[in-house]
Point group: D3
Chain length 117, copies 6
């Protein structure tokens, strides 16, 4: 369980490489565009990653939630700020979001366990 | 067309009053909780309204988009900052979001037409 | 505005006839199966229509909401019982359901205006 | 596999305690409101849990489905009544619901295996 | 009513121009990528437009449905082939798709009324 | 991991048998209708399975994706044609589809590993 985030990151990067091998121009460009969407623009990267996190929660995608939580924590958002963002997602998306809230809170904890030791 | 936002606000406040009259305790409390979710906490109201806007776009709800656009503009987010948030929503949610992007860009324009004169 | 429900019912029955004319066997059978799903079984029709209403609210489809509200009111569910069902939908589906809650509360009112006179 | 429901309940109560520890007022209040939504009101708890189950199925959330199946079985709904509710969810939500129907039918069986011995 | 498709096309192209004026690089690139996704590749444009149509129906977006119906009819798909695609969308997406099926069947009829005269 | 598709097929057929045992007429008829939706009509089975695949991707259901990938590969769609269909799904559904794209690309690979040896 402790390694859930690590396994996700491993699988994610492994499969992204496999997808790159396919050499589908449209898919490749979409991945680039996805990366660019979170770079500094009128909004900074920190804010955009938080937007991506809340979007992922209301759309109920655990892998997307984990990806953005890791980014948000590395960009310096505090746990309490993330919990506040989780709350917005919970209110907008309703109780159907609760299983993903459990997952998200656990992911924050797992991240700190892996990095604070 | 110019009055689309005004009509929405009128209908919204009229029906919210009607819902209040119903005196359903659960519904009433949910409305309070919804209001509180955007008040200053670990995150400030400005950031939370932007989160609410992106959540509304990926969930594809025009009324919710209009509500949060008005809040965001009144809290001082610039058009370019909103467009950057729209872009995150577009990338996360895909081309199915485009009709709501059209609506959102139009709502920003309508807001300025109503307030800059 | 008073005639919103009537217009919906007119359009709905007009287009359902047009769809029947198409004579697509799969579509025809789906429509039959849809009708049968709400007939008395282990659960009675009243309960099933209420289930259909809540499903329609969390999936955020105003036409489906109106259809099931009319059925529920004709089957004797009281306004307060419907409001209680609306509340379950609101909690499960979150604030993104609110525009549909407004629509649903208005539809209940419109139904009574049309039938109590 | 026999222990799938037990593991879910363990994880669910463990993480709900962890979420309570966070002491986020908005999240805490949402959890209370969620609990209250299923208490006796104009509709009784039995009916509301069945509404919650169908809402969970059309929104395709296995954890939510399991939670409401357990509640429904403990409140005395028969298997055939639940299957009738599953059918409404299947018709409203379509074949995309089928994997969740498999999960739900299995959960009903697992519940009885655990309780009838 | 006859002009519903024409109004949609007018609004769509008007707002797409307005969005282009915004000069947001990410949004601009997404629009290009969206256009390219339907050009001849391993699959031909005709097949891809039909895929786009079914995706739009199960995601329940009337504007997207109208856009792809127009493309499909101009690329030579027959009404009966479109109805067969509608049926797949109806089975996958369930009765919640029915209001969009009504819209889609009407759009096919409106297209022919505008072009056969 | 190599056996993921085999396990899915085993679980799927096992639970479908269990669902058949329940003898719920509505559910049984829906399963028949679902099968019929992909038989030769105005569109052929190959095209319909590809439509079902894209619908499953934008609705983000891994089990449904796997089912249609297997059908598509057995009906002779090439990997590059499937990737082109995945790209349409990715553009329509956005980055929230990416975890399902990873799953789908892996499923295509697993299918070939199992059948080419």
């Amino acid at each position: 369980m402790n390694d859930r985030l690590k396994e996700f990151e491993h699988y994610r990067s492994h499969m992204n490489e496999r997808i790159a091998e396919i050499e589908h121009l449209g898919i490749k460009r979409f991945f680039n565009l996805d990366t660019q969407a979170y770079t500094q623009g009128s909004l900074d990267t920190r804010t955009k990653e938080l937007l991506g996190l809340v979007a992922s929660m209301v759309l109920r995608c655990n892998d997307c939630i984990d990806y953005h939580i890791i980014q948000c924590l590395e960009l310096g958002w505090s746990d309490n700020e993330l919990y506040d963002a989780f709350n917005v997602a919970l209110i907008v998306g309703g109780s159907i979001v609760i299983p993903h809230l459990r997952h998200a809170v656990e992911s924050v904890d797992l991240y700190h366990q892996a990095h604070n030791k």
